[in-house]
């Protein structure tokens, strides 16, 4: 029984981890309609910056948020402006996928060039300390990740719902041409959205860095799972991504224990395919999900 509870809690915490990585991706996917294969490398970049700040300046890793989030915002905005926007008019929008694949390759290798192939270890400053909650144990840092994921969902929801910029973003996500006609500067909204999406993953990087070893290819570990989460959650639905992430986390933990660690990828992708085929709008994508990037 305790084991089962522990599996559920592990799954939940893993879900929180997947959620915080995926929220930024779902924003970009939902608004700019670009499958950003470099998303994992954004995470990797954020984790390396966190590592640098923490080790060089001896600060608490969470202090790096002041630098990492704006840095990632700029990185995302530049990606949209310099890489995606020029390709918006390409005959085939799949071109953008390959631009982001190129970016991903370049970033992984750039990290290899700068930091080498070794893992970089961000000091945990007590974030790895386990806490006992009744019969189960979690890490302080995992709890913070989970809390931050919820806070991020709520914050983005409020922003999308109640700010003018949020409305503009929703309008653009809904229908680019019509929004353009309404006088919304669509390119600016795209740059902003890409920036916000990247900033979200910057936050994720700061939170994850103390818990996981950083390496140049850490991003590839996360990116496929993040795509699964985003699609399950329904296109651009932020709460959907959150619950999708919890589902994947649970599935991962349960199948890892009961079916076998080597097969859990097959289980996760298998379930993903079944859901995708039966309900292409995503598990949590309902009729209103499209209008609510919130």
């Amino acid at each position: 029984m305790t084991t089962f509870l522990q599996i559920l809690v592990n799954g939940l915490m893993l879900g929180g981890l997947f959620a915080i990585v995926s929220i930024g991706l779902t924003l970009i996917f939902g608004i700019v309609k670009v499958v950003n294969f470099a998303h994992g490398e954004f995470l990797m970049a954020g984790m390396f910056i966190t590592w640098l700040i923490t080790t060089r300046l001896g600060l608490h890793p969470y202090a790096a948020v002041i630098i990492v989030v704006p840095a990632l915002f700029v990185m995302g905005a530049l990606t949209q402006r310099l890489l995606i926007q020029p390709l918006m008019s390409a005959r085939d929008d799949h071109v953008q996928i390959f631009a982001t694949v190129g970016l991903s390759t370049a970033l992984i290798n750039l990290a290899l060039l700068i930091f080498g192939a070794d893992i970089a270890n961000t000091p945990a400053h007590g974030l790895r300390a386990p806490i006992s909650l009744g019969p189960v144990r979690v890490l302080t840092g995992q709890l913070y990740i989970f809390g931050a994921a919820i806070a991020l969902v709520v914050a983005l929801h409020l922003m999308m719902k109640h700010s003018q910029i949020g409305r503009a973003i929703r309008a653009v996500a809904q229908n680019r041409s019509a929004a353009e006609l309404m006088g919304i500067n669509v390119n600016r909204i795209y740059i902003l959205s890409f920036g916000i999406g990247a900033a979200c993953v910057g936050l994720a990087a700061v939170l994850i860095a103390p818990l996981y070893p950083t390496s140049s290819n850490i991003g590839t570990y996360f990116v496929l799972t993040a795509f699964v989460v985003v699609v399950l959650g329904g296109l651009g639905s932020i709460p959907g991504a959150f619950f999708g992430a919890l589902l994947i986390g649970m599935l991962d933990a349960l199948s890892g224990f009961y079916i076998g660690s080597d097969l859990r990828e097959a289980v996760v992708f298998g379930v993903f395919l079944v859901i995708l085929i039966l309900k292409p709008s995503g598990l949590f994508g309902n009729r209103r999900a499209l209008s609510h990037l919130s």
Binding site: N10, P130, P213, S215, F257
Partner: protein
Amino acid sequence: MHIRHLLLSAALGVAMAGSALADVKIGALYPFSGPLALLGDESARGLEIAVDQINASGGVHGEKVVLERGDAVDNNQAIGEARRLVSLVGVKAVFGTYSSARVIAASQVTDLAGIPYFELGAVADEVTSRNLKYLFRTNPTALHMGRAAIDMLAEKIAPGLGKDPKDLKIGIIYEDSSYGTSVAGHEAAYANERGLTIVAKSGYPANTVDMSSLVLELQDKGADVVLQTSYQNDSVLFLQQAHEAGYKPLAIIGGGGGYSMQPTADAVGKDIIDGVYDVDFTQYAVNTEATPGLAEFVAAYRAKYGAEPRSGHSLANYMGALAILQAIDAGEGFEPDQIVAAAKAIDIPDGTTATGFGVKFDETHQNERAWMMGMQWQDGKLVTVYPDKAAVAPMRFPVAN
């Protein structure tokens, strides 16, 4: 002929400069880029130092040995680079390769071309189980690793813990590529042979981000001893997540990879890594009476690269390359069959090399004198503890409570 040459340079346009006035060329085929780059590069350094040493003492048959690098980033590339080395550069032999998959792919090519291939670091059984005519392997393999782990457990660790080895419940976990799979397979087979109890055997993808369910499985099945064969990321994850889950097996025995690397210890911290065992190629904190030449190698490494060796891979490659090059020098020439004959004639006794083991090839061309050592992390350092002749420190055991 002239036109051919022109076409060749035109078609390649590739910078092949610097290889012009070489005396005798040897291929160095390692993954120099991609995910295996770090240890591929570390392995190649061992070969480079061996070549330097040979050249300093007059070369091979009086000719200077020049290394031509080939980047075996993936299997197709390993084949392509092997072809380039053989047909374009005209190497007399290929040395490599660290990765089992790459050597298996590349050596099929060199064997068809009739060029000798010397494997100095890859551990999978399949490398030498194919009965290739021109392939030799100097290093110990997955079999040696599995056996050393079980032997050390049964003969040293269990008595030290005050247990009968048969009472220990063993959990085997491994990354599911060829490396982990083959080591784990040998561990399980040999443990069964010795009558030990295995309660869990689970593979997992090396790029996992979570091992908590694996930890729970081991806890659930009451594994006292964990054998893990892993790369760096998953070694760190397992050690950390086991610690955080409050799982304290009596012994953790790593199978090389991440367990032999200082960054792993730095990442998880001294408190967690201390007491953990490891089975691998010969490392540096070892009784040098059993490994003559090791100190000289380390000195040469420091002089050339300005740093400490990053793992035992360079040492294993150094020792193997040195043995082979010396044998070729003692042989009749650079023709493939002359090199093969020279390799077959090698008979280096145990305890006379920098890695401690001798060299003699069996009928599959595997070095039958190769063996692995057991190490333990003590005070944040990896020190050799097994077998006794190579040990520099006694094994430490958890204080019974």
